[in-house]
Every structure is written in C-alpha cells, then in structure tokens.
C-alpha cells in the first residue's frame, strides 16, 4: 500500500497488509512533520555549506584531520548508532531481555578502551588514511587489497541493513511505502556526504547524536515513572513473563539451556567480548575513520575513551525501552515471520513505545531521532566505503597516477554509486528472518580474522607480509565455510557452538572465535617459514619499533589512561549491579 496517498495528519502504524485494520493508529500532527522536515533541511544545508571546505583529498576523505577529541568521540559513537542500535537491540531486548546489553558493555567497552590506549597511536603515527592502508604499510599490497575488498562488501551490506530498518520504521510509523522510504533516505545521505565528504558526515553525526539522545530519552524516563522505577519494572516483567529471566546479565549464562539466547558465558566473553567486539571497534574502518580524523595523537586517543562513556549509557535509550515493553505493553509481540492480524513484531517495539508516551511534537522528535540514527549509520558506511574504494582499490589497482582533484571526484562518485549498490542490498536483507543474526554473521565473516591480522601486525614485529595475507585469507574462508556448513545442515551447529542446545546467536560467537584462531594460527605458522620485513621498515607501525609520545608532562586529569581507568571501573560496576 502506498501510504503517500494518505493525507498529512492521518495516522500511523499501518500494517503491510492493507486488509489488516486492527493495528493501533496514531494521528501525526503537522508539528511532527515540521520537525522531520527541519531535520532534512538541516542535514542537506550542512552538506552544501561544507562543500567549499572539501576540495582536497585530505579534506574530503579525512575531514582535514582536525577534529577535536569531543567531536571525533561523539561522531565515533554516532556512526555506530545506526539501525542496529535503535530498532534492532530494542527488539532483541524484548526477545532476550537484558542479555542484549552485553553488546554495549562487554561487547564494546573493553575494545573501545583498547583502541584508544593501544592501537590508536599506531594508526595515527603511521598517518594511514584507512585500516586497509595500515595493512599496506605493514604487510604489503596483497593484504591491503584483500581487506579493502572485504571491507567494501561488508560496508555495502551494512548500509543496506540500515536502509531496510529505516524503511521498516517508515512503514510501521509513518505508513510510507517501503520502496519510497529506501530511496528518500538513501538519496538524502548520498547528497550530503557526496557534497561535504567526511566533514559533512562527522558534522551530521554530531547533530544526530544530540537528536537521538534527546528524542529517545523520554521513553525510559516516562517508562520508569509509569512502572514505579526499576523494581516496579522487574516486578511487572515477572508478572507478564513468569517463565523467563529477563533482568540478569550473567546469572542465566551458566548453560546454553538457561537463557533465551541459547548461549554460554564463554561464547559471550571470548566470542563477543574478545573477537567480535575487538574486531569491530578496533579494525572496522567505519568507526576508526572518525578517530583517524582527530587533530593530534592525544585527541585520537581520547576520542574513543570519551565515546566509551556514551556507549555505556546507550542501553538507557535502547535496552530499557525493550524491557519496559515487556513490562507495560498490554499485548505480546511476536517474531516478524509470525505476525498475524492485530499483532506487532519485535522490530516494532521502539515505535510502539514512542507512540505510547509521545504526543504531537515529541512524536516528531522521536521519529526524527530514529531517522537520524539510521541516516548516521548509513552515512558512516558510505563515507568509509568511498575512502577505502578510492584510496585502497582505485588508486593502487586501477589508476595509480592522477591529481588529488581526480581522486576527490572519484570519492564523490563512489558515494553515489555505493548508495545505489546498498539499495540493492537492502532488498536482500528483507529476505532474512532476523536483522541481528544476519549482521552478526557478516561480522564474523570479515571482522574477526581482520582483527587477528591487525593485532599481530601491531604487536609482533616478526610477522611477515606473506603471513599477514595468508592468515587473513584462511580466517575469512574458514568463517564463510563454517557458515555454509551450518546453512546446509543445521545439526552441525552443535559442533561449531559446542552444544546441542546452542542457537543461532551462539553460532555467530563461536564461528567468530574459530575463524580468529585459524587466522592467528596460520599467520604464526607462515611467519615461521617466511622472511620478515627489516625493522627499519616497521617504524611507526609496530610496538617495539615505534617511539610513542610521552604523556608524563600532562596533569593526571588530562591523560587518556586516567579517563580510561574510570570508564573501565564503571563498566565493572555495571556488571556487578546487573549480574
């Protein structure tokens, strides 16, 4: 049904089935449309304004490397606040309870702090423009080419996921046709990123950061007022769902069968907390690019640490609404594949909660927050894709010698073309039963082995260029093979995830862990039989061959390590509170 035919002010929660009239319907007020419209005008205006500052490659692809720690830090987190964070994890919380918070805490904080304290100095001092660019400096052209192609593929898939989620929100909340939503959001992102490059993406991500928080914050505030605080929330969940434990992080993880996710704590700690998390936060160029754009090495180290505090707080606007839905909604949500007349799917939990508490004006702000979240994720993907394609594929393999202006032009075109390709991937995503499981599968294909390659390269000077390439290739191929085996015969999941009670999410954790291990083992084995680079060529790239700037002259409160320790302490306290 094409709801654009509906007059403004008519309502929301339109079912994909036009004959289904039993869903809740909410009127949109003109003030809500004004708020959404202002947002689109603002992001496009910023793109046009910044175009004049992005005429050079450094300006377009790296925002001139002059971001402060705060701007880079907020952008770092905002680029990650895409469709997954808002819709996906609220939905996952309704399914799995507070276990979903693992993806924000153990699945993020240690890795972000490690990035800031240990890895950023090498990314920054080497003056690389991208993560594949670092691999070129450390291992050579073949490792760079492999990583660049893998990253480009993953990025476009991710952008497709963002678009799909965006269109889903538009369908459910605004009643817009899903195809129209995909094209409007994608073209808006294409225009503002193509105009202002990374500058524009970062500016808009900071803007989006505020909108996301201020738009989504009312749900948990009003929700906790309604339930009478945390204890009231827990009591209501137990009353509505007496059979499950939705409010403990670690207690139900002692066996695969004790929690709705079907995963053991070893999978969370080693698969998610170590391989997937460290892989994503330290080697995914989508987020690392924001930090590489920092103005100096201290800002580059502080940016992820600042981001860690906000990442730790995101469950307040994502996980808590999912828990509140378990407590206050008068009906039960169902999987997307099982939605019948009058029912809503898990994926609709956030819009449902928004509609519950927000009247005219606030509803527009909340919807804008969702749109902002989706667009920031999409913009992050396409800006990172443009950089990697231009600098790590086009320049080394297609056109080695050209002017800076030519590469900037190529970057602008890549954004347009990349958006078009990801529109195609959005339609692919629709075929998958769960957004979350699909994304986890993608992460474990590419990110886990890449983390092994980058980590060994940074910390061990003996690793050879050939070992870097073959380790990365072996890890990636093994990951895809394990995924294909389970797809062909689901009984194989019991072997990969080490338990007959394991579910899909557990498979992703363990597949990531095995592929990382295979990458590391192959890398070490090949290193033993091949020739390393001379130490002189590893300066600025490897621990032990690089002189890191001292921070001894700074007062304690200005040192990154000081803020990292506080962040780590808060992280531990949260685990204990919700154990």
């Amino acid at each position: 049904m094409n709801s654009l035919m509906l007059p403004l002010g008519l309502l929301l929660f339109v079912s994909p089935d036009p004959s289904d009239t039993s869903r809740k319907i909410i009127s949109l007020n003109p003030v809500d449309y004004a708020i959404v419209a202002i947002y689109f005008v603002m992001v496009l205006g910023i793109g046009f304004y910044l175009k004049r500052y992005t005429k050079s490659g450094e300006g377009f692809f790296l925002a001139g490397r002059e971001m402060t720690a705060w701007v880079a830090g907020l952008s770092f987190i905002s680029a990650n606040l895409g469709a997954l964070e808002l819709m996906g994890w609220a939905a996952a919380t309704y399914q799995y309870g507070i276990l979903a918070a693992h993806w924000y805490w153990i699945g993020a904080i240690p890795a972000i702090l490690f990035l800031g304290l240990v890895m950023m100095p090498f990314y920054y001092i080497s003056k690389t423009h991208s993560v594949p660019g670092y691999l070129k400096l450390r291992y050579g052209e073949s490792a760079r080419g492999l990583a660049a192609v893998m990253f480009a593929l993953m990025t476009l898939f991710m952008a497709g996921i963002d678009m799909y989620a965006m269109a889903l929100v538009m369908k459910v909340v605004l009643g817009w046709d899903i195809n129209f939503s995909i094209w409007v959001s994608a073209m808006t992102v294409a225009v503002y990123v193509a105009l202002g490059g990374l500058f524009s993406a970062i500016f808009n991500e900071v803007l989006q950061f505020f909108l996301i928080w201020l738009g989504a914050l009312l749900i948990p505030i009003l929700g906790l007022i309604e339930t009478g605080g945390w204890s009231g929330l827990v009591a209501r969940i137990h009353q509505n769902f007496p059979q499950g434990d939705f409010t403990h992080l670690w207690g139900p993880m002692s066996s695969f069968a004790d929690n709705p996710m079907g995963i053991h704590w070893t999978g969370i700690v080693f698969g998610l907390g170590w391989v997937i998390s460290f892989g994503y936060w330290t080697t995914d160029f989508l987020v690392v690019q924001r930090v590489i754009a920092a103005k100096d090495i201290r800002a580059a180290k502080m940016a992820p640490i600042i981001g860690s505090y906000f990442k730790m707080a995101v469950p307040f606007i994502v996980i808590l609404p999912g828990l509140l839905a378990l407590a206050v909604l008068p009906f039960h949500l169902v999987p997307e594949s099982a939605v019948g007349p009058g029912q809503h799917s898990y994926n609709e939990v956030l819009p449902l909660m928004l509609a519950r508490y927000c009247g005219p004006g606030l509803l527009g702000l909340g919807i804008t927050a969702l749109i902002a979240g989706f667009m920031s994720g999409m913009a992050g993907n396409v800006s990172a894709f443009a950089t990697v394609w231009t600098y790590d594929v086009y320049r080394p393999f297609i056109r080695k010698i050209a002017s800076d202006a030519h590469y900037v032009k190529m970057g602008r075109w890549c954004i347009i073309i990349g958006v078009l390709i990801s529109i195609g991937t959005a339609y692919l995503v629709m075929e998958f039963k769960s957004i979350m499981d699909y994304v986890q599968a993608l992460f474990s294909f590419f990110i886990a082995p890449l983390f092994g390659t980058v980590l060994l390269g940074m910390l061990w000077k003996r690793v050879t260029p050939a070992a870097g390439f073959w380790g990365l290739l072996a890890g990636t191929v093994s990951s895809i093979t394990m995924w294909a085996i389970v797809k062909a015969d689901h009984n194989m999941l019991a072997y990969i995830a080490l338990s007959p009670n394991a579910k899909d999410m557990a498979e992703n954790m363990y597949r990531a862990l095995w592929s990382w291990l295979i990458c590391v083992i192959v890398t070490v084995a090949v290193t033993a039989f091949t020739k390393p680079k001379p130490v002189g060529e590893l300066t600025g790239l490897v621990y032990g061959c690089t002189e890191l700037p001292s921070e001894g002259h700074l007062p304690l409160w200005k040192r990154p390590i000081f803020w990292a320790v506080i962040s780590a302490t808060l992280f531990v306290i949260l685990q204990m509170i919700f154990w």
Partner: protein, 70 residues
C-alpha cells in the same frame, strides 16, 4: 576544530536545531494543556517541559558557539 578555516562550529548547528525543535515542541505542549493527547502519562505535560529544555539548551549553544569574526 576547523578554526583555521573559520568553519562555523558544529555546536552552533546543534544549538540552532535544538532551539527550533524546542520552540515547536513547547508550542505544541502549551496547546496540549487544553487538548491533552491520548498518551500514557499525558497529564505530566512532557511536551511542555521537554520543549522548554530543548529551547534553553539550544539558546545556550547558539550563544556560546555563534560565528564570530576573528
């Protein structure tokens, strides 16, 4: 950031959009005093105080980060 190029700070744009949103939501909240929406906890007037908060934050950001000739 970007002071070398005299780029308007991103915080200024943040202030502008928060101020505009604050005004719209505050206006909507005032209207809702006499025409409350059919939402849970509408009697707490969330639009009124949230709109006011956004407008105040917006004004502060606009003032602190307004473009200035250097």
């Amino acid at each position: 950031m970007a002071e070398d190029h005299h780029i308007i700070p991103v915080w200024f744009f943040v202030g502008v959009i928060l101020f505009l949103y604050g005004l719209l939501i505050l206006g909507s909240g005032i209207y809702q005093v006499s025409h409350p929406p059919a939402t849970v906890l509408a009697h707490l007037r969330p639009a009124l105080w949230w709109g006011g908060l956004l407008a105040i934050i917006g004004v502060i950001y606009i003032y602190l980060f307004r473009p200035r000739k250097s």
